[in-house]
């Protein structure tokens, strides 16, 4: 995320994805409680692929 900030691009493990995953899990709890299908209201933009040459050990700051 720090590298994405420095490079002015979106980061991949985003709050948007985190929110959608939470929404899915809460919807699952609600479905289990109600016995009904639950429509998930949030959505995510396409989650990008991490470049193959990404080096997680590279110094970021």
């Amino acid at each position: 995320m720090i590298r994405a900030i420095a490079e002015g691009r979106p980061h991949v493990a985003s709050g948007e994805v985190g929110y959608h995953v939470l929404d899915v899990m809460l919807s699952a709890e609600e479905s289990a409680a109600s016995g009904e299908f639950v429509t998930v209201n949030s959505s995510v933009s396409e989650v990008p692929v991490v470049p193959a040459d990404f080096d997680p050990l590279a110094r970021t700051v």
């Binding site: 995320m1 720090i2 994405a4 900030i5 980061h11 991949v12 493990a13 985003s14 709050g15 948007e16 994805v17 985190g18 929110y19 959608h20 995953v21 939470l22 929404d23 899915v24 899990m25 809460l26 919807s27 699952a28 709890e29 479905s31 289990a32 009904e36 299908f37 639950v38 429509t39 998930v40 949030s42 959505s43 995510v44 396409e46 989650v47 692929v49 991490v50 193959a52 040459d53 990404f54 080096d55 997680p56």
Partner: protein, 263 residues
Amino acid sequence: MPASGTAQDVLDHPGVQVVVNLTIPAVHAEVSSAAIAAGKHVWTEKPLGLDRESTAALLTAADEAGLRVGCAPDTVLGAGVQTAKRAIVDGLIGRPLFAQTSMQWQGPEVFHPNPAFLFAKGAGPLLDIGPYYFTTLVSLFGTVDKVAAMGLKAREEREILVGPNAGQTFPVGPPSTISVLTQFEGGQTGTSLVSFDSPLARQGVVEIHGTEGSLVVPDPNTFEGRIAYVRPFAAFGEAPRSRSGSRSRRPVRSPAAAWACWT
């Protein structure tokens, strides 16, 4: 380490640009929101929050302030899930159809001396471990449109098994076993089991099945591992058929490079 102190000291420190939020789930959204209000970017442990309202408010506040919110698990950025994603994008398994995931075992009280919080509201196997599996599926398939689930609890109360409080009991909040069906916007479906009630341990199961092949993805609670690719038979008893067309016969573009990143 140049400085230490309380959470408030972190927020007040002018040199801090990014706050890493490793608090308990019940205060994730609150602590992250305080960091945003203090003008800091936030990286937070999973889950992002425990309810839609406060979690959405956190993201809105960050957007308005021009600040970033990042959320665990970042294991999906590792070679395992990324190699699977590149393979899918490259068409290795054709059109992705469905996924199966499984995380089942008898539960964390076998090793944890204070396990009650792992069974309380905001945890249970779904919110505690589920983020690894559902973040993987969302990373591979995209938006989930609809879910159905069934849950149960083996017991309403469980017993602490190790440590100084062994023998004490604690209540179970959310289901300790839950099966979740997911319908994705792209047409794929998913079947996901998470359970703290299973004597048989089977964790890290992520399988992606498509028209031209299946992928066995490594445990999404780790950064890497072996990937298996299974091709369909041309006919029963014959060798697996090659993938249609020469374009798609090239190997997966990048697993070697991706694995090299992590070794």
